[in-house]
Amino acid sequence: MFKILKYSFFDLTRSRWLYIYGAFYFLLTVSLLWLGGGLSKAIISLMNIILVLAPLIATMFGVMYYYNSREFTELLLAQPIRRSHIFFGQYLGVACSLAISLLLGVGLPFVLYGIFNSAEIWNFSMLLLVGLFLSFIFSAIAFFIALRNENRIKGFGLAILVWLFFAVIYDGLFLLALSLFSDYPLESFAIGASLFNPIDLSRILILLKLDISALMGYTGAVIQNFMGTLLGMACSLGVLVLWVVLPAWGIKWVAVRKDF
C-alpha cells in the first residue's frame, strides 16, 4: 500500500494544480498576516476560506485523480496486490498531497510571522487540524463517488453536488428549520444537525477555540455549553474521525465488489 501511496503522491507532485493550490494559500496567508493586521483576524478570515475551499479542492482532486489514473489502476489490478491496498494507496496519495499543500501554504507564513511565540498557537493548530480533516474527508467521499460511477461526468457532478450540499445548502436548510421552529427548544437539534455536516462541525470547533461563540447567537451559547467542554471537544473530533472512516470504508466496500 505504501508503494502505491508513494507512486500516487509523486504522480500528483507533477500536477501544476497542486502547486497552484499551495501557492494560493501561501499568498493569501501572507497578505492576511502582514496586510490585514494580526494573528487572530487572519485566523478567522482563513477559517472562512478553508472551510469552503479545502472541501471543494479535495472533492475535485479526488474525483479527477481517480478517473485520470484508471490506466494505472488497471495495471495494478493484475498484479499481486490487494484491491483495498490499491485504492487506499491512491486515496491516501491524494489526501496526503493536499494535506501537505495546506500545511506548507498556510503553515509557513504563520511560522515566519512567529506563531510559536504567540498565545494564538492553539487556535492556529485547530485551524490546521480542521483543514486537514476536511481534506481527508472530502477526498474520501469524492473517491467513493468516483468508484461507484464509471461515467466521469456523472461522478464529477455528483461529487460537486455533495460538496455544495455540505458547504451551502445544509446551512440554508438548518437556518430555515431554526426560523420555522423558533418556538421550540432546538438545542439538541442544533447539536445533532452540526454533527452530520463535517464543515459545520469544523466551524464550531474553531469558533469554540476562538471563544467567540457569542457570534453564533443563542444556539451558539448552547452549543458552547456542550462542546466547549473537553468531552464535547473530544466528541466532535471523534465524529470528524468517523467522517473519514466511513467513506474510507465505503471505498473498500465498493472496491472489492467492482468489476474491472
Binding site: 508503494k3 507512486y7 507533477r14 490506466e71 494505472f72 488497471e74 493484475a78 472489492v256 468489476d259 474491472f260
Partner: protein, 253 residues
C-alpha cells in the same frame, strides 16, 4: 493448475458466461477462441480476479481464488487493450512495475528482442499502437511465472515481431509453462496451440486438441471447423428460445 466450475457472469442483463466448467491441468498452449463479445476477456479477467463471478468457483493450484491476491504472483497477464499512464516514459513504467512486484524480471532480453531500446525514454502516450503492444508484451513476459495469460497478443504486431512472439511462446512452452491465449488469427492458433477452447453464447462448445477439433467436424482447416461450430451454435441457440421458428424456417422444417 486452474479449475473453473460452473462459472456465471452477467453485466446487468447481459449474460456473458452461463455456467462454464473448464480445467487446465497440462502444461502447454491453450487457445481460447470465440466471436467478438463471446466472453473470452471476461473469462480471463475472472481468472485474474478482476471481474468477479456471480456464481461458480475458480480454483488456482487447488485453492479458491475468491478474495485472494497472492496467487497473482504466479500469473503473467497481457491485457487486450494496453492502457498505460500516458505521462510515464517506458523506462519509468518498467521500473515501477518491477518495484511494485519485486522479484527478478528479465526485461533486457525482451527489449532487445523487440528492438525497443530507442523507445525507453519516450512517453507512453506518444507510442504507436504496435509499439505499445510490444511494451505490453515486455511487461507481461518479463517475469518468469508458471501461468501466462495473453489476451490477443498478436494485435498490431508487424510480421517480424509476430515471429519473435511465436518463438518466445515456443520457448516458454518448452519450459513447461501453462499458456492461455486468445486471438482471432486462425493461422496463429494452428501454428502454436496444443488445445482449443471454443466459447459461444456463454457456453463452451468445444474443448480438445486441434486434431480432435478438425476430426470432430470433419474439416480440413481450423477455419472450416469453426464455421461448423458457429453453425451448430446458431441452431442450438435458436432452438432454445425465441429463434425456434426462425431455425425451422432455415432448416426448412
Amino acid at each position: 493448475m486452474i479449475t473453473i466450475e460452473k462459472l456465471q457472469k452477467s453485466f446487468g442483463k447481459l449474460e456473458v458466461l452461463k455456467g462454464i466448467s473448464l480445467e487446465f491441468q497440462r502444461p502447454g498452449i491453450t487457445a481460447i477462441l470465440g466471436p467478438n463479445g463471446s466472453g473470452k476477456t471476461t473469462l480471463i479477467k475472472s481468472i485474474l480476479g478482476m471481474a468477479l463471478p456471480d456464481k461458480g468457483r475458480i480454483c488456482f493450484q487447488g485453492e479458491d481464488i475468491k478474495g485472494g491476491w497472492a496467487y497473482r504472483r504466479q500469473i503473467d497477464y497481457l491485457p487486450q487493450i494496453a492502457r498505460f499512464p500516458e505521462n510515464l516514459a517506458v523506462k519509468e513504467l518498467l521500473r515501477m512495475i518491477q518495484d511494485l512486484r519485486g522479484g527478478q524480471p528479465d526485461a533486457e532480453r525482451l527489449i532487445r528482442l523487440f528492438a525497443l531500446e530507442g523507445y525507453l525514454d519516450k512517453r507512453l502516450g506518444t507510442l504507436s499502437g504496435g509499439t505499445r503492444q510490444k511494451v505490453n508484451l515486455v511487461l507481461s513476459l518479463m517475469y518468469d511465472s508458471p501461468l501466462l495469460i495473453l489476451d490477443e497478443p498478436t494485435s498490431g504486431l508487424d510480421p517480424l515481431a509476430m515471429l519473435h512472439l511465436k518463438e518466445l511462446l515456443r520457448q516458454e512452452k518448452e519450459r513447461g509453462k501453462y499458456i492461455l491465449i486468445t486471438t482471432h488469427i486462425m493461422s496463429f492458433v494452428e501454428e502454436v496451440a496444443d488445445e482449443v477452447v471454443f466459447l459461444l453464447e456463454g457456453h463452451i462448445h468445444f474443448q480438445g486438441s486441434l486434431r480432435e477439433l478438425k476430426e470432430k467436424y470433419a474439416a480440413s482447416s481450423l477455419e472450416r471447423a469453426i464455421a461448423s461450430i458457429l453453425q451448430e451454435g446458431k441452431l442450438a441457440f435458436s432452438s432454445n428460445g425465441h429463434g425456434e421458428k426462425a431455425a425451422k424456417l432455415v432448416l426448412g422444417g
